[in-house]
Amino acid sequence: MKREIKIVIGMILLVGIFLTIQTASALDVTYCCEKTKSGGWCQNAAQDKCDTKFQMAATSCESTSYCRMGCCFDSQEGTCKENTPEKICNDNDGVWAASASCEIPQCELGCCLIGEQAAFSSLTRCKRLSSLYGLEINFRPDITDELECIASATADVKGACVFEEDFANTCVFMTKGECQKKIDAGENATFYEDVLCSDEELGTDCAPTTRTTCVEGKDEVYFVDSCGNVANVYDSTKATNKLYWSEVVKTGDACGITDVNGNADSKTCGNCDYFLGSTCKKASVANKATYGDYICADLGCTYNGNRYEHGETWCVNSQGVAGNLPGSRYFRLVCYNGDVTVEPCADFRGEICKQTAVRGFRNAACVANKWQTCTGQSDVADCLNTDVRDCQWISDRCVPVYAPGFNFWANAGTCAAGTLSYTVTYEKRIIGDWECKENCEYCKGEDGCTRSGDTVALLNNICTSYGDCGIKTNFIGVQGFNTESVISQKEQVK
């Protein structure tokens, strides 16, 4: 009987242990939730985050059938979406393929030459663009580089298309193809390549004017003739120049081509350049062009009294970042189209802002703060290898340059690495008092102690480098709980 009781107790214990292990592992194991309680599809998460109305399994989503990642192809739009679960794709009427990076024939990219423009897209997308814009396409699968594709876009030949309307000889500036359509439709039209409608020799009713306009998709300010046709780039010195109103002048041969600011705010030249910081816009009353209502508007920005060029990005010295104080964060500012936008880098100083300049043009980026491997380095060269990590060598220790931030309210104990322990050795002779012998820079108050303010500062510097640790204020200057360093002292008598 006693033996039976022992067996039963033993079994209960075994079952108990088994259940405890199961419960503990259930909390630790990552599940593939088909849907999480917060509404996310196909997420690897803790079991308690899974929506129980949907499937879940104690494995990663890559290993499940219901959350297999692949490529979702939109057969109508011709677009491909990477990293899409099969179910989500199918539910949205997409075509799913088992290639998360979309390496499938339907998604193979080529150069889609459409009108005067080019797009690096799939063939289906190219056809879709053709139907959307009503333009003929030329798909070049042999061009496999986006930049090459964009460079291969060529403008259609344009010129004066002269025809008769209401018993008058009139003209429209258009492409050769468009004019050919008129001719094919039976109209008595003639095309003159690279000739403007205002050319006197054409004998049309279109004449030069001093009116100007902006053209959609172009940066420059253009003259307009009396028929409303766009002529050459606005150049006040050539407003009455017959030759300038006769032939097409390329923007590269037009006025102000050497101007480094893209003729921003020029009253005389409309050869704007977006990449140099100007584009065609309606002129303000205070800054009118010599002729017409449009001007090359300056796209630069002013921020805190400083001038920034269009396209410049820079790091801002936000509160507390100099000391990487708790709560501080790096920010990148961007100047585009006269607007300054703020881009916060990842919080908790997970990213830092780094800035360079090429011939005075500032360029900044939020980059990952690579501090995680600092503490494991014992070699100075390895520690200071900036390609791999952002660390510094302080007093024989490798510590982060940019102290990371902690969500200390949820992740206590992360300052453990910054807690330094030293053994201070004292000696006492038969006659005399205790005397410090080793690590005397860390002891306090006894004979032989050499601890100074510098030591305290050094130790605090090491400690604070590990994160939101040590004696610090927060980013708005409020002092933390620690007001003096605590160095634990252990006395050891030899």
């Binding site: 996310g40 599809w41 690897n44 939109d74 899409t84 940066d219 585009y336 908790f348 990213e351 969500n407």
Partner: protein, 264 residues
Amino acid sequence: MEERRGKKAQVTIFIIVAIIVVVAGILIYIFLPEIKGALGVEAESPSVILENCLASKEIGDNIEVIARQGGYMEPEHYILYQGEKIEYLCYSEEYYRTCVMQQPMLKKHIEKEIQASIADDVKQCFDDLKNDYERQGYDVNLGAGDIGVELLPQRIVLTFNKALTLTRGETKSYPTTKVILNNNLYELVSIADSILSWEAVAGDVETTTYMDYYHNLKVEKLKQGDGSTIYILTDRNTGDKLQFASRSVALPPGYGLDGVTYEK
């Protein structure tokens, strides 16, 4: 005495004339469609009437709300940003992992959302349209049918596949009625698609690349404390906006220091 009486009569006449004018005005206002019909004035086309009606119902506001909430009228999986719910279109619960696409067919989805959000207003507008024509003396036959919404470059086309037949002497048939709204949502959705693809593959996007390509586009990237990123795309010319959220390759706070000890 007689002069006084004459003045009184004049005032009375003025009052009567004023009352007649006011009453006539009200009657003309109320019976304007019938008067137009009786005079044989051609009625406005159904698409113009619908366009005006839908404009009065402010369906543009619905589209704006959908665009500001990541393409959803009622976001389900969202991040709160300045009081607005912004749907995650690509999301990873884990740190360091690229996101999983949550809405691979964004354009189609937005079209469905717009369709659902305007259905009641469209029904109301068709009822008004029917009444309007009937008051003008038309015999109106309105068939049943669905609403088609299509995002296209620089416009949103609403197609009402309800066959409408108007008879007043002659018969006019409108198998479908189209209303075109000026909106650049198509362009913004295309850019959002591209951003989401980068987020799913690389976990981040360089905003200036897009602003270099599209001169009228403003791209704002706002990283949040939990590793989420909110994107705000704005057409600088029209002010059209599309907002959406993503969480990809999120960096954890304080990771890596737990359990690390350093003794000398």
